[in-house]
């Protein structure tokens, strides 16, 4: 049961991440990358198999958990954290340099156009 719940969670996180990465604005893309990294971290963690009351110490209990996936997931979390920070800064920089938050930097959102039109003096 726990196995099923965890697998579904990995699937939902990764699926939502993929969906968001395919969006055209930078903020959803950054969120999507974060969700994907959550999904993969959980996946890495479960690669040591799921145990209850089994510390990663040989001999402490009858069955011991594999410590390596825990070490891997720690490394992956640190790297993903640094990368997320970097992507956010880059997205902000792109927003400032290009004047909009489209991933290609070319799109003029519809809402902005409406606002611009209102500001135009009426003849």
């Amino acid at each position: 049961m726990t196995n099923l719940a965890i697998s579904l969670l990995i699937g939902v996180l990764t699926g939502a991440g993929v969906y968001l990465v395919l969006r055209a604005q930078t903020f959803p893309v950054v969120l999507g990358l974060t969700l994907m990294s959550y999904g993969v971290n959980l996946f890495l963690f479960t690669m040591g198999r799921l145990h209850t009351a089994a510390p990663a110490v040989v001999g402490a209990t009858e069955q011991s958990a594999d410590p390596l996936p825990q070490a891997l997931v720690l490394t992956a979390i640190v790297i993903a954290f640094a990368m997320t920070a970097f992507v956010i800064v880059l997205a902000l920089k792109a927003r400032a340099a290009l004047g909009n938050d489209h991933v290609d930097g070319t799109h003029i959102p519809q809402a902005d156009r409406v606002i611009d039109r209102r500001r135009e003096p009426r003849a």
Binding site: G39, N41, F43, M47, D66, L72, V87, L90, K93, A94
Partner: protein, 539 residues
Amino acid sequence: MTANLITLLVLLPVALAAVLAMTGRRAPGLSRGISLAGVAVLLVVSVGLLLGGQGDTPQVIELGSWAAPFGIVWVFDRLSGLMVVLTSIIAMLSLLYAVRRDEDSAGPHFHALFQAQLFGLNGAFLTGDLFNLFVFFEVLLLASYGLLLHGNGRKRTRAGFHYVVVNLIGSTLFLFAVGALYGTVGSLNLADITLKLPQIAPDAVPIVTTAIFLLFTVFLIKGAAFPLYLWLPGAYGYASIPVAALFAIMTKVGLYSVLRVDSVMLSGNTIGGLVETTALIAPWLLWLGLITLLLAALGVVAGRTLRRQVAYLIVASVGTILIALGLVTGSERELAISGALYYWIHTTVLSAGFFLLAGLLMRHRPEAGDGIEAAPPMPHAVLVGSLFFAYAIAMAGLPPLTGFFGKVMILAAAVESPLMAPIFAVVLISGLIMVIALARTGSRLFYQSQATPGHPAHSTPRDARTPMPGLALSIAPLAIATVMVVGAQPLSDWLETTAVQITTPSGYLEAVMPDGILLPETAPGKFGQDYPDYEGGKH
């Protein structure tokens, strides 16, 4: 002593990166000196190790003296040694250019990022552990993100965002692949995985196969193969010149990983005794290489700046090398790999040099930059034009320069292949397309250099004595190419021995896992008895 020198290749750049991060803002002159000295040491040590025959049998460094499957190992053999030497050469060229042209002063941390990039590159070439490879990929990518954005610019920011997002997705896939391999095979050490692959449980075979395909997808993202190369022309085409030149080695990290994992882990192996892995990936490499090469040739035609054209030439070289790596028929494989390595050295050095030449053009054509359009005449047009001509024939693969020899070696290996006709057709036709595209570029850049409407003929004072700093640096790669032509016989002999070392993975496995079984097929089932207390990931 040898072990210390090999470790130095990885540890020196990271130590220097830490120092340079502190000195970068305060003492720019000192930083330049430290950075240049560091790269010079790397160049001397790596060339010395390789020529000293240290890679003839794989040298294994056990980090923390932990034996192979338990600790991380670094392996220095001829292939990784060659890659480290190439990295040092490219780094030396682009660093000298950056210093000579004052491109490093656009941001305070250029040298720190540069050394961090070398740390990641050398580590990725030397490691024998898949998770360690992931970490080094991240190191080199994070440094490359910083270098790519060096010097600002709107287009650079946009291309940088695409590059970063694509590579982060690649990293996520890499983690999925590594996790799935560890969960089923129970190891992250490349040699250990190789030995354990035939013995995994039948129900895990589909998972392992999927993980292997995922792993190669990631390598092909980094290596820029069809359909995953679209990030490259933008990123390389807008990067500053020394950075673009250094990036000439970046796609080769992906290709190196393909070659390393394919030759060690898959050749002559099976997954759980059910799936033969020798030809599991190779046909994909061959077909993807053909498509990449053809599309990249069209990309060269479509490129509207010289840098973008060179970026597509890099993609084309990736395609050519993938074709060679995809040939698996018996003894032809050694010929194909040695040809691919020859082409590999050629394309890495010359595309870096081509970027440096584009940098010369940009500085002396202020109106048009490296755009392929007519502009007022530039100083030293004859000299620069001749250099362009030499680069163009080398990169397009015309005799008498290195690109031609590399392609001939690869095509000679393809004669026996059942796909000989499409390989010959694609390689030759794409070569023709690239020649046409570069000829057009050359005539636009150098023959139509008259005053155009809106551009006066002499908008800036120019004469033949205008200094051209960095000119020697764009001649140096051509000199290397000439040496490669003159010394083609000894070099290709050396590369053939290297190819033999690559295609016989037992040497690598014995060096890394001396207590493990030598080859899976010689003594199947013996492995588990060597480590009775070790259960791996099997719970």
